[in-house]
Each structure stands twice: as C-alpha cells, then as structure tokens.
C-alpha cells in the first residue's frame, strides 16, 4: 500500500500503471495535517488506519 498526499494521488496512480500495477492500493492523506485540530487529526488517523488495514487485508 502506498500512502500519498492528495496532490500526488493522480501521479501515484499513473506511476503505478506505468509499472504494470493497474490496481495498486493507494491511500490518500491531506497535505496539511498540521492545520487540523487534535480531534480532526485523530478522526483522520482512525479513518486512514482502517483504510490501510482494509487494503492490506485485501492483499492478503
């Protein structure tokens, strides 16, 4: 699984396709997490963690 910031999501998909990985799992993360409140950051981390686990589980 690749973790990328939102501005690089399209680049990540293109690079993955160029390397023959059409369905490479990519999880997107906001570029500026420092501006989030602690509560927002925690919620984001929980969502992202679940997303990562889900995609890693699918790979298995």
């Amino acid at each position: 699984v690749a973790l990328v910031t939102e501005r690089f999501e399209d680049l990540a998909h293109s690079v993955a396709r160029a390397r023959g990985k059409n369905n490479f799992p990519i999880v997107v993360w906001p570029a500026n997490v420092e501006e989030l409140s602690e509560a927002e950051l925690r919620a984001l981390a929980d969502r992202t963690f679940d997303d990562l686990v889900s995609r890693l589980t699918k790979l298995a």
Partner: protein
C-alpha cells in the same frame, strides 16, 4: 515516408507520420501531439535518425534503460529521435546515451526529480577530452546561449524526460514554477584553467576519460564577488549565498549543493595554499547558521531533517558533498550557487 539511402537498413520502430513540408507545419504537428518543449524542432526523418544511430555505434533497438516516471523504454532509436528534435549533431549521441545510463541509478531518483513540486531539472556537466571534440562551452557564458553542444545536448535531455519519461503535463510534472533551466542545462568544466582536479577525477575517473555528470539542479543564484580584493572575502560571499533557509539542501539535509567558481577564484585560492577540499570546508563552515533560526513558526519541524552539528545548521551532510566546479569566464567577478533538489544524488557516467 522512406527516403533514398535507407532501404538497406532494418525498419525503425517509431511511428512514421507525414506532415506539411514547412517549419510551421512541423511545429504545429509537434505541438498538437505534445512531443516538444514548445520550441520549434528539427524533423526526425528516417535518414536523420539513422545518421544519429550510426554515430552511436549501437543497434537501433538496443535498450539503454527506462525513464521515469512513466518508465518509457529508452532505446538508441528513441534517444536519437529526441536528439534530432533538439538540434543535436550525431557526435553528441554518446553523451546522451551516457546520461540516460546515469538516470538508471536509483540514487538519482529520477521519478521524484520529474514529479516533484520543486523546480529542478536534470543538469548535465561534461568532463574530459570530449568537451573539446564536441565544442562544449566551459568558459564565458557557459550557462548562457551560443554553443550548439550546450544548448542542444541539454535540450535533448529535456525532450527525453518529456517524451520517454512522460513528465509532460501537470499530471506528471508537479513543479510549481519550474525554471528556465528545464529547457536546457548543459555545460563543461574549465579543467585546463583550474589548479585543482576536475569533478570526474574527484569521483574516481581518470583525467583522460570523458564523463557526464547528471544532477538535479533547482536554479542558479549569482554571487557578485567583484567588490572583494581577497579570496577569503569572496568565499564568505559565496558561503552566504548557500544558506538561505528555504533551500531543499538546508531543510532536507540532503543532496550536493554546488558552487560554480571561475578559474580566477580558483587561482586566488590556490595561491593561498587552498586545495579544493579546503575551499569546500571553508564554504561548509561559513554557510552554517545557528539552529535557533529554524523556529517552529518558520518551518514545520516534522517535515525537515536538517544537518545540525554543534548547534549549527549545515548546507550538506559533509564538506565533500559540496559540488565545486570551475567554469565560466576567467575573472573572479561572479560565482554561481547551484542549489539542488535534495532527494537526489549526482551520478557520473563515462562517455564511451
């Protein structure tokens, strides 16, 4: 369309298209197909492509490597096509092949160099006897216009990065501004007028070998040293140019920032008994600044990895990582600071 004289050669793999037989027609077609850098190109006819391939001494279908981020396959033929479009002479092919071989080194990190928001380009520095054979400008205005070799070898590399590497639109090239060096950036070292070993010898090659060094150049910053009398003061000004806090080299603590000084600077330093490494050490120490300047209000601390020693922030991991090159007109009037991308390390390849 096949041309007279090429029928005994095997077919090329590139698509053959017919266009209006005029410079304007060719230019319009290239723009429409997004094959260029915006400037007019020399049409890569089959005859021209074959002349270029034959000058390389290699088979048309020989694979030199791939070019990221799109992993396009750089065959000799594809490199030749881009070289012609850029205006290269066939004699330049070995330089381009060596440079593409350099792109294969993981430490150069071409995918990131191509896709980053940083303005960086792939700059080429040529060392060794081939500089003279090819007419590479190492002297006055070496970063400026006028030399076919400098202009077209650098441009051919850009076209290779665009057309084979695929970094041709905002999807693949995220540069916020870019910089004019992304059109072309190629020059040679003024070895004959330097008191020190040239870059390729520093990097393990013999003086009689010819090499091309690729590095991820982010821009150029002029340093006026004509107001100084003593070399020490000139070096202080150069060091001062290296430590702007917004540079990738400072904030990432990586890469090989460069200083382009003239043979006049180098002579003055050598007369004071300074070796090339002595100059690097001087620049390293005098460009360092107190860690306290990197306040948490100024930079996001978790995103940076500066090199901090004894409370001082340095421009590189060690003095040896500063790329010191002698080039340009001989007067010790101006030097040029060459900041680099940081997440890339220069690669030197022999031109054969």
């Amino acid at each position: 369309m096949q041309e007279t004289g090429v029928t005994s050669r095997p077919p090329l793999q590139s698509e053959v298209i017919e266009v209006e037989d005029s410079p304007e027609g060719v230019h319009a077609e290239v723009l429409a197909r997004e094959w260029g850098d915006g400037l007019p190109v020399v049409p890569p006819t089959a005859e021209r492509v074959w002349r270029m391939i034959e000058a390389s001494g290699r088979a048309a279908d020989e694979v030199i490597g791939t070019v990221g981020p799109m992993q396009g396959v750089a065959t000799v033929e594809k490199i030749a096509v881009n070289a012609i479009m850029a205006g290269c002479r066939p004699a330049y092919m070995p330089v381009l092949i060596a440079a593409v071989r350099g792109l294969q080194e993981p430490r150069f990190n071409v995918d990131a160099v191509q896709g980053t928001t940083n303005p960086c380009t792939v700059a080429l520095l040529i060392n060794g006897p081939m500089r003279h054979t090819l007419g590479v400008n190492c002297g006055r205005d070496c970063l400026g216009p006028g030399s076919q070799a400098n202009a077209t070898i650098g441009r051919a590399m850009r076209l290779i990065l665009l057309n084979i590497g695929g970094a041709k639109d905002e999807l693949m090239d995220k540069a916020i501004h870019g910089f004019p060096g992304k059109y072309t950036c190629c020059f040679g070292e003024d070895e004959e007028h330097s008191p020190w070993e040239p870059l390729h010898v520093e990097r393990g090659f013999a003086p009689q070998q010819s090499t091309v060094t690729i590095f991820a150049l982010s821009g150029t910053l002029n340093v006026l040293t004509a107001t100084c009398v003593h070399i020490r003061d000139m070096l202080v000004l150069m060091a001062d140019a290296m430590n702007h806090m917004g540079s990738n080299n400072i904030l990432l603590g990586r890469g090989e920032p460069g200083m382009l000084m003239t043979s006049g600077h180098a002579d003055l330093a050598a007369r004071q008994g300074m070796s090339k490494l002595d100059v690097k050490r001087f620049l390293y120490e005098h460009s360092a600044f107190p860690k306290s300047r990197l306040s948490k209000d100024l930079v996001r601390q978790q995103r940076i990895k500066p090199v901090i020693k004894d409370g001082m922030v340095h421009v590189a991991r060690r003095p040896e990582d500063i790329m010191l090159v002698v080039a340009g007109g001989p007067e010790p009037y101006h030097a040029v600071f060459l900041p680099t991308f940081g997440d890339s390390w220069m690669v030197t390849t022999e031109i054969v």
